[in-house]
């Protein structure tokens, strides 16, 4: 029997080692898996490489992970925000590495990892600082930049509902990076508001099929 339900956030992230590459779903706070991140902070893994659209807001979630100095490197599109003070301080102190990626290229690189694409050409960022040093190619009448997939050891994802196979549906714009990160990581851990019986999710409306999910935790 397939049963991906795990008892607690602690159990769900217990095996994440130092140095792991971890995708965190969310766009700002919408879709951020705060309970899993809190468990990760308590668990103590260090020297992490994080992939997220942002670099943390306020003092919770990713920002708290930053504050605890567990992050060696972050790959994101938009670190600078009015309340990104923990990232800002680490960055200014030279204590964190930043890989800045245009948001659509970030999303497509994550998607490429999940879909087994070796690399792709995108017109985004051609002729800009963010394409410096990258291979380029003219295709048709447009210049393109070669971009490579971003794989991860773990994805920590927030969804709305799940069944024991790990089939997921999301809620509104909290969907954002969840589906593509779930597919791009070796081990995808999902926190959900509600777990439902197998068969209760409409097959036409499942957004992430369970094939992409390894662990599900209900968070109260």
């Amino acid at each position: 029997m397939i049963d991906k339900l795990v008892a607690s956030p602690q159990a769900a992230v217990a095996d994440i080692p130092d140095g792991a590459t971890i995708m965190l779903s969310g766009f700002g706070n919408a879709g951020m898996p705060v309970a899993l991140i809190d468990a990760l902070i308590a668990q103590g893994a260090r020297e992490l490489t994080i992939i997220n659209n942002n670099a943390g807001n306020g003092d919770t979630g990713l920002a708290a992970l930053m504050k605890a100095k567990r992050v060696r490197k972050i790959t994101c599109s938009f670190p600078r925000q009015p309340d990104s003070w923990h990232f800002d301080a680490l960055y200014r102190a030279g204590e964190i590495e930043l890989e800045l990626v245009p948001q659509g290229t970030l999303a497509e690189r994550i998607r490429a990892a999940g879909a087994g694409i070796g690399a792709f050409y995108t017109p985004t960022a051609y002729g800009t600082k963010l394409a410096e040093g990258k291979e380029t190619r003219r295709i048709g009448d447009r210049d393109h930049v070669l971009e490579h997939p971003i794989h991860a050891d773990y994805a920590l994802v927030k969804a709305d509902r799940a069944d024991r196979w790990g089939n997921l549906v999301y809620r509104k714009t909290a969907r954002n990076f969840g589906p593509i990160m779930a597919a791009a990581a070796k081990c995808t851990v999902v926190q959900v508001r509600e777990t439902v019986e197998l068969g209760a999710l409409d097959p036409e409306a499942i957004v992430t099929p369970g094939i992409f999910v390894q662990r599900v935790v209900r968070v109260h």
């Binding site: 700002g28 245009p102 948001q103 659509g104 800009t128 509104k172 714009t173 969907r175 593509i180 957004v207």
Partner: protein, 216 residues
């Protein structure tokens, strides 16, 4: 002359968005355009965090933290709205499915280069978001900005001194002084604000402007 204020500028941009358009409004100043879309037009607002059909700000107390726009502000939906994930959202952008995007800018060059993400200051924390994708992706890239810097220098320049967001990507610039089209043969002034002559605009702007038959 009568410079446009932020809301007048937003209204001026909004006037040019036709019925039925699909539009992405950049974070900051461009977001104001949504408040000025002319009545009677059905315009679909795309937000790159995964929604088509963004509606107005919710009433106080009705905010939903899972329903936000690219500026991370609470929004609502209009009928016909749909959600999708980030790769699909940027597929829409990069695949040239958006009719318009409206972006703010630090500088626009005479060939339509856009600089809007980074001043290049050594201590600045860089952040690009979706700007580079929008700049290459939308069918029409509209820029809205103040015409002059606080120091009185033109933000329309021969060559951008700030790092580029996209090369040769801007189609039209709306400023508090004028509307200017970027065309292969140069910058065409579509209109100027009341009381501002073409000559005076030319003097303030520095780079060569062309006078359209319709220019004020």
């Amino acid at each position: 002359m009568k410079k446009l204020d932020r809301n007048q500028l937003a209204a001026r941009v909004a006037r040019d968005i036709p019925d039925g358009s699909i539009v992405n409004l950049g974070v900051g100043l461009p977001t104001l355009v949504a408040n000025h879309l002319p009545a009677g037009r059905e315009i679909v607002i795309h937000s790159e965090n995964g929604v088509l059909g963004v509606g107005p700000r919710p009433a106080p107390g009705e905010e939903d933290e899972d329903l936000i726009n690219a500026g991370k502000e609470p929004v609502t939906l209009i009928k016909g709205a749909s959600f999708f994930h980030h790769a699909d959202s940027f597929g829409m952008i990069r695949g040239r499915h958006l009719d318009f995007c409206v972006l703010g800018a630090f500088q626009v060059s005479v060939v339509g280069d856009l600089a809007n993400w980074n001043t290049g200051a050594p201590d600045a924390i860089p952040a690009v978001g979706g700007a580079m994708d929008l700049a290459v992706g939308a069918k029409q890239v509209l820029v809205m900005m103040e015409h002059l810097t606080k120091a009185g220098e033109s933000k329309i320049v021969e060559r951008c001194t700030y790092p580029l967001t996209g090369a040769r990507c801007v189609n039209r610039v709306y400023t508090d002084l004028a509307v200017i089209d970027v065309k292969p043969d140069g910058l065409h002034v579509v209109e100027t604000v009341d009381g501002l002559s073409f000559e005076e605009l030319q003097r303030l702007t520095g780079v060569p402007l062309k006078r359209l038959a319709t220019a004020a």
